[in-house]
């Protein structure tokens, strides 16, 4: 009974929407090249900032989402690791690589009316350094050179440093406002230079911003305001979009993206990393200590089938660690293709003709459970009996930090525009993570070599990746990514074009409605 009205309802909705889309479709979206002014853009995300959107020193993760519309960074970075000016118009790395000097944009005012200058920049950078924010370990000091020049002194240079400044470590907030109201206030009241002024923030609900009339980039922004809504339940998210209560929705790639596409929304998507299995290759009693076993695992998995079944045209199988949009991606690389016979042969060679029992440890909230089930099933076919041990964040981080035994830790390896950052973050000797993952001799030197050049070099990165592949250090499964479903009247939001997924271009976004 319920099924009936339900399907009638959904079909009705679909028909209505399709008709509406056809009507809208009559006017090609990009035919109107000239941006229109007005409108409030409502962006829906699954999770919002935790609560620190105005104090870069303490901002982590999703906090950047809340900062983006109102706070700007020293530099911007695009997906191919190109550093672009923002609040810093120019920068120079010293010859001795012991400092970077930034020339700041002049005539920029914060939302509270105070000026942006070198002292404010120093204040912000110093706070980030004092908070021991990640990536600041090599900063020895921050100094003001003149009113619009600031310098960061370094103990040691690496080619990630600038990229970091396109995120919260490079965010600039009004010194005056912070000093006047205190840090606790500042955490929830961002005062930046951005295209929008902060209005209100309610955790897990909404953050609202209104147009900054005095934005330094004259003529921008086009929108009257921006609202970030945080909705956890995917079905509710979808309903909100269909009801026209939002313009942009952040989604995972897969079924949801396919559904939204079918409903006629524009889909913006980009890989964000590679789901990989990290074997316990260090512990002596682990079967994964043997390279051939690791290879067997890789041969046993039919990545194409998984991607076909679960990707809905949005996901790709991964045979190498960097996803297809990365500078480090090698389009000609073949990797180890599905070959269960070979897998069995390798297992027999290594003394496991009947396989063995092990487990896969995924984080229960961050993986596609179905993919894990598929992995379990494929490994089962070559005799490796797998238990799936879904764990929550807490337990997962214990494994990640303290090691795991005879198991494959399932970790999405995130992609940074500068792939060196990925390698450094997950696999260098400094990384406190993954102690159960054996690093071959000389591996860390390869990473350090790649990292320390002035500009990141693809060849150096490839060297590291080749070593990893030869040793079967990690087993990539499939690319994962983020996507945005966007109403057709929304343009130029710049989602997923700028280094980090939290970076977009609220200043350029406009709506043709």
């Amino acid at each position: 009974m319920k099924g009936k009205w339900f399907s009638v309802g959904s079909i009705g909705c679909l028909v209505l929407l399709i008709v509406a889309l056809l009507l809208v479709g009559g006017y090609p979206a990009h035919s109107q090249d000239k941006p229109q002014y007005g409108g409030i853009l409502r962006v829906v995300e699954g999770a919002g900032p935790r609560g620190c959107i105005g104090w870069p020193a303490n901002a982590v993760g999703n906090d950047a989402l809340g900062m983006k519309p109102c706070i700007e960074y020293l530099v911007n970075q695009d997906n191919m690791n190109k550093i672009l000016p923002c609040l810093a118009t120019d920068w120079k790395v010293a010859r001795d690589r012991k400092s970077i000097t930034f020339t700041l944009r002049k005539g920029v005012k914060f939302h509270d009316g105070s000026d942006f200058n070198a002292e404010v920049a120093r204040f912000n950078l110093q706070a980030v350094k004092d908070a021991k924010a990640s990536g600041t370990a090599s900063w020895t000091s921050v100094e003001v050179v003149d009113d619009y020049t600031v310098r960061i002194n370094l103990s040691e240079y690496n080619n990630n440093l600038l990229a970091r400044l396109s995120g919260s470590p490079g965010a600039m907030v009004s010194k005056e406002a912070v000093e006047k109201n205190g840090i606790e206030w500042a955490k929830l009241n961002p005062v930046g230079t951005g295209p929008f002024k902060f209005v209100s923030f309610q955790r897990d609900v909404v953050a609202k911003y209104t147009r900054n009339e005095n934005y330094w980039d004259k003529g921008k922004p086009y929108l009257d305001g921006v609202e970030l809504h945080f909705i956890k339940d995917p079905m509710t998210q979808q309903a909100v979009m269909r009801a026209g209560e939002a313009e942009v929705l952040g989604i995972g790639l897969g079924k949801m993206a396919a559904d939204m596409k079918a409903l006629g929304f524009k889909i913006i998507s980009a890989p964000s990393g590679t789901v990989s299995l990290l074997p316990d290759s260090k512990n002596a009693d682990s079967p994964f200590g043997n390279k051939k076993v690791r290879e067997a695992v890789e041969y046993a998995i039919d990545r194409e089938a998984i991607v076909k079944g679960k990707g809905y045209g949005f996901l790709k199988a991964a045979y190498q660690l960097p996803p297809s949009n990365s500078m480090a991606y090698d389009p000609n690389f073949k990797g180890r293709q599905y070959d269960p016979e070979k897998a069995k042969k390798l297992l027999t060679e290594t003394g496991y003709p009947n396989g063995f029992a092990t487990k896969i440890i995924p984080m229960s909230f961050d993986v596609d459970r179905d993919v894990m089930v598929a992995l379990q099933s494929y490994l089962g076919e070559v005799g490796i009996k797998v238990d799936l041990d879904f764990v929550d964040y807490g337990r997962y981080s214990e494994y990640r930090r303290k090691g795991w035994h005879n198991a494959l830790l399932c970790q999405p390896i995130a992609v940074f525009p500068n792939y060196n950052q990925t390698l450094d973050f997950y696999f260098s000797a400094k990384s406190p993570d993954f102690p159960s993952l054996a690093r071959p001799a000389g591996f860390d030197e390869l990473i350090q070599k790649s990292i320390s050049t002035v500009e990141a070099k693809k060849r150096n990165i490839q060297n590291v990746l080749e070593k990893m592949f030869d040793e079967t250090m990690v087993i990539p499964i499939n690319e994962v990514g983020r996507g945005y479903a966007v109403q057709n009247y929304v343009h130029d939001t710049g989602h997923l074009e700028w280094g980090s997924w939290t970076n977009w271009t609220p200043d350029r976004a406009w709506m043709s409605k």
Binding site: K2, W5, F6, G9, S10, G12, C13, R50, G51, C52, N58, V60, G61, N62, K132, A133, S134, A137, K187, Q202, R203, D204, V205, H229, F230, I231, K232, D233, M235, T236, A239, V240, R242, A243, E245, M363, F365, D392, Y393, G394, R395, Y396, S397, E398, R400, R401, P412, A414, F425, S431, P432, D433
Partner: protein
């Protein structure tokens, strides 16, 4: 009476202390260090061991558990529920912002379940065996079998998308925009009240049937009273006694149900905060919420116990 209330309040406080102790202990038994959670949740930040130690000290997690408890408890007594590890915000402030929302929806659902459920049960009992009774019984039984979140999403698709008469999600304070607020809470309140309505109707029905067999009802008939008077004056008050007990117990589950409903309808209430807190091992949040929920539940229970006195003069508080 006063003595009784004082004794009950003292008892409730003991229970509260026990509740906080249980939660405190259980939360600390959870595998996984909340400080690590902080790191893992933010995948791309790496903290040195030194920074972790500093954080741990900041939150007082380096002290022995009894000391932690005493510190937390003595602060809690003064209204300071500590700082959320994940949000870094004051827990008390966070909860105060959300409690009214959960209570708004929860109490409405609670009241509706009483106002609708009890008369349904009465009607059903009085018309025992007729089609009305059959209908009510069937609905009541369906009502306690539907998964709440499922009902929620079906309602969203029907009322918000298909009919387009209600907003999909969200919450607006009634003081801000009463009409909008009401429109927004219709669905969540309905979802939340389905189970309590059904169970209240069932309980009232069986309790009414039981009471209608009592000798004093026969006495009332023998006096020549009208059926309606007998039901309203003689039977209902007696029949409500077990229903009130049930409602007292039901209240906590309405609060519990709000966990699911708040997720579906994207309402920034306490239920969601609690679930997120549990999952991310945010000790302070969970402790604070449990303390608050327990307080509310205990207050409701006290009210329920006192309302027995009104319903049933045989109960003496001594």
């Amino acid at each position: 009476m006063t003595t009784y209330i004082i004794r009950r309040v003292i008892q409730s406080m003991l229970v509260l202390v026990m509740v906080t102790m249980i939660v405190f202990l259980v939360m600390r038994l959870l595998p996984g260090d909340p400080i690590y959670m902080l790191i893992t949740e933010d995948d791309l930040i790496q903290s040195s061991e030194e920074k972790i130690a500093a954080l741990r000290h900041e939150f007082g997690l380096d002290k022995p558990i009894p000391v932690q408890y005493i510190n937390w408890f003595s602060a809690a007594v003064c209204g300071d529920l500590g700082v959320s590890i994940i949000h870094r915000g004051k827990v008390a402030k966070e909860i105060i912002g959300r409690l009214p929302i959960t209570l708004h929806i929860g109490l409405l659902a609670f009241i509706i379940s009483i106002v609708v459920g009890i008369p349904l049960g009465v009607v059903s009992a009085v018309r025992r065996g007729r089609w009305l009774d059959t209908g009510v019984t069937l609905l009541a039984n369906l009502g306690i079998t539907i998964p709440v979140f499922w009902l929620g999403i079906l309602m969203i698709y029907f009322f918000a998308l298909y009919l387009g008469i209600l907003p999909v999600q969200g919450y607006t304070s009634p003081f801000e925009d009463f009409w909008m607020s009401t429109r927004k809470i219709i669905m969540p309140v309905f979802c939340l009240s389905v189970f309590p309505i059904a169970s209240a109707a069932r309980q009232t029905r069986s309790s009414m049937l039981e009471i209608m067999r009592q000798d004093y009802i026969r006495t009332a008939w023998a006096k020549g009273l009208r059926e309606r008077l007998i039901i309203v004056r003689h039977a209902l008050k007696n029949a409500l006694i077990p229903v009130v007990t049930l409602k007292g117990l039901m209240f906590r589950n309405i609060i519990g149900g709000s966990v699911l409903v708040e997720t579906v309808f994207n309402i920034p209430g306490m239920g969601r905060l609690a679930v997120d807190g549990v999952i991310s091992h945010d000790y302070a949040i969970v402790q604070g919420i449990v303390l608050l929920i327990a307080t509310v539940v205990l207050v409701v229970n006290l009210v329920v116990d006192l309302s027995y006195g009104w319903l049933d003069p045989r109960i003496r508080y001594g």
